[in-house]
Every structure is written in C-alpha cells, then in structure tokens.
Subunit: 139 residues, 4 copies
C-alpha cells in the first residue's frame, strides 16, 4: 500500500536556460511526472483508463508551490521523493522533495483533486470524491 | 516608474494536455515571461546586458506558488497582471494574477533574487542586492 | 480565401538554452502554432469544434523539416510566414519561413493530414480527406 | 569507439496534446537529448566542459527532419537509436530511429556542426571543424 514513491530524472541541456541552470517551470513538470508515477504505483495506469472506467479525466491542480533551495544544471541526476502529505475532503496534498544525491534542490507541494468533465460545459472540469481504493492506500 | 505591468498571451493547442486544459507548468512559464516583461518595463533589456554591465545573470526564483482558480483551454486569450508585492532585503515577491477577461484563472507569486555567477563555482549562483535604480522604481 | 498567413512571436528567455540561442525544438512549436493560426484564418476555430462537428481531432504531422539559416536569441521579435505549398491527396505541405525582420532564420515544412480517431483503436488516429470547404480555399 | 547509441524515454502525460498523442515538437526534444547522450558516449561530458577547454559551446543544428510513421501516447516506453549517418566537412548527420518495441514511430535526421561564439558578435555563433578525437571515433 504505497503512500510514497521515488522517481529519477536526468537534467538535460534543453531543460536549462541561458543562466545555465534549470528553467524553473521544469521543476513543476518533474513534479507532475512524479505525481503520475506515484499514481501509477497506486494502481492508476492512465487517465485514459480512469476516464473509460470512472469518468475521471485526471487529477488537476488547485494549488502548487515550491521552495528553490539549491540550483542544478545538466547533466546532473535528480530524484523526486513523492508522498501524500494531507487529505482535505476532495483535495489532497502531494509533497515532492527533489534531490541531487543528498543535496535538496526543491521542496514542492501540489494540491490536487480528482476531476471529471463538467457535464454543464465540456470545456470545464469538476471535482469528485477521491476514489475509495485510492483513499484506502493513503490512509 | 512602473511597479506593475500587464502581459497578454494566447493559449495554444500545444499548451494543453490530454485533459484538454492548460498543462499547469505552462502557467509558471507565463509568469516567468510576465516577470521578464515587467523587468523590461523597468529598464532591464536582457540578462545578457545586465551580465555584461553588472555581472547579473538573471533574477532566479527562490520560491513560487500558484492557486488554480478556474481552468482554461485553447484558443483563449489570457492576461497576466504583474506587480511587486513585497521587498525583503535581497529578495522580492512578484504577484501575478492571470485572467481570461474578468475571470481569474490563477493567483501566483514568485519570490526572486538578483544573482551573479558564484565566483567559487561557475555551475552555481549567488544573490546580490537589488540594483539601486530598480529599487528606486519599486519603493 | 487565405492561402497564407503571418504569425508574430517574441523569443523569450525560457525559449533559449545554455548556448544562449533558441532551443531548436521551439522552432517546431512556433511552426505548429503558426499552422493553427493559419487554420484559424481558414475558418477552423478549434479542433474541439471540428471534432464535435466532423470527428476531426486535428491535423497531425506525417513529416516535418527545417533548415536553420541564422541563429536567434531573446528578446528578439520573429515572424512566421505560413503558406500551402503543395496538396498530395489526403496530405498537404505547409511552408513556414521564420524571419527576424528581413533576416531568414528558419525555412520549414510540415506535411500534415486531417485525422479522426481510429475506430479500431481509440489510442491511434486515421487520415481522412481534406474537408471540401478548406480545399476550396487552398486551390 | 561508439558510432551509435540507444536512449530510452517514457512518454509522459504532459508530452501529449489534446489529441491524446505526443505533441510533435517533443520528438525533436527527444532527438536532441539522444544526440547529447550519444555525444556523452563519445566522451563529451557537457558543453560547459568543451567551452572551457576548446571554446565549443555546443553542436547546434543546421537542419532537422522527421517522418512520423506511427502515433504514440503516454505511458508508453520508447527507444531512440542514434547513429552517425554522414560526415560532410564541418557538418555531420545524425540518424535517429524512434521505436516503441519493434514499431517504428519516427525516422529523424539532424544535421549539426560544432560551434563557438562568433568573435565578432557574442549573440551569434560560428562553425568549427569536428574535433579530431570525435572524428576518429566516427570514421
């Protein structure tokens, strides 16, 4: 019953900017990937599958934050430790610690919900309860 | 003496993900661009120029956060209102409100410093004081 | 009856890489956006709409190429001239000339088809004939 | 003496677009990474190092092309087989075959040069001869 997961990435040339360090939105991209890898470890194969089975199109963000502690550049290897930090009704907080070895680079948080298409407007989305089998793993 | 600026963007197909809405790290990309547009309005042409003149390679982040209030999709037009919210010694907080017309999509904050290359390690960076001509515009 | 269109972009800090010039996949991103702007000018509002009305989910690529003639960096303004170069049955070739003022930066081509979801496999796509109202504008 | 290399990637949610398939500029991003992994295998650790030692800031593109044979989506695993296809004076052609298992997704080519900063204009770049130790491995 996983409530944490570690994902590994290599910082690439194209992830860095003219200041030679990681272009910061990429840290959120890695957190998003780490979140999906964590969901995979919890038994969610893809949002395509959850959409077909439960109407759930994904787990979009309602909030995200990061503290940038140390800078990093290519071709360094990084690891992201993802865990469930808090559950608040329909929303939940994932904590991501991004490390290069023992050096913490970023401490991040994502607040997410599980969502379906808004029946009233297919261009918008709507929160639903955390699926029971997922909740059982996290509590 | 600008302490705020509005930037305009069009959400493109490639900015959206399989859930049909903006892939969230892109909001941080737009905040980063809005920050640079704001710095441009304050008289900073490019980090290339500040590096040549003052050694300043950029204004990297030490923190970033966002609340995602409403979802958005292509081909919608958005505006980002950027302002200096707070100055804390060497660091400063930019507030970004991302809107589609009157609808607030995202409320974001970036905490930044002005940085030079670390003389001790060219792969790392180091904070310096906010340049006087910039500080004068913000206070 | 448009068979050409010009799109404008500003090269941003985050579009550039540690070599200080545009990270090259971004030129294809701009071509993709320019293609969509061109389709917009031809009366296609969004693929969401074409999917609802005709089942067409987009105009995916079957080929793309670019010659990189001059380098560019931020914060330069660029323009992309997009035109239909050739129609080959179900496929068509868009030509994109990316310029900074009079200086040609990139000469690109995209070969695209109009596509629907493959009825046999929703994870795959299938080519359909170019819609008549579009073809009429291009020939 | 490597003249070919295989790189592995996982297609992520954020690599895909509203048509549910890979957003095509990402294939060029993977080719760029695969090229760098190949250069790594040839003994180039980073462009930072080559810049310090030889003034070489990278191996920028003068051309790129791709044929998109089959579509792909997340969370599929892909492999990129990179090899030197041709050497033409200062330029060289890398061939990239992107596969999902035995299924070819993309056949790509990148034509690159080794470059230094243009002494006449630091915002521009200039081609130099392929370094001898690299050339020896490729011929």
């Amino acid at each position: 019953m996983p409530n944490s997961h570690t994902s590994c990435f290599r910082i690439e040339f194209g992830d860095c900017d003219p200041a030679q360090i990681v272009f910061y939105p990429n840290y959120f991209k890695w957190m998003d990937i780490a979140a999906l890898h964590f969901f995979n470890a919890c038994g969610i194969e893809s949002w395509r599958q959850t959409k077909a089975e439960q109407g759930i199109i994904g787990a979009p963000l309602i909030g995200a934050s990061a503290k940038f502690v140390s800078s990093a550049t290519y071709p360094e290897q990084i690891e992201v430790d993802t865990s469930v930090q808090e559950i608040r009704g329909k929303s939940f907080v994932l904590r991501h610690v991004i490390r290069r070895g023992e050096t913490v680079l970023v401490e991040g948080e994502e607040t997410r919900i599980f969502a379906i298409e808004d029946p009233a407007d297919p261009k918008r989305i709507k929160a639903v309860a955390i699926p029971g089998d997922i909740l059982a793993q996290w509590t």
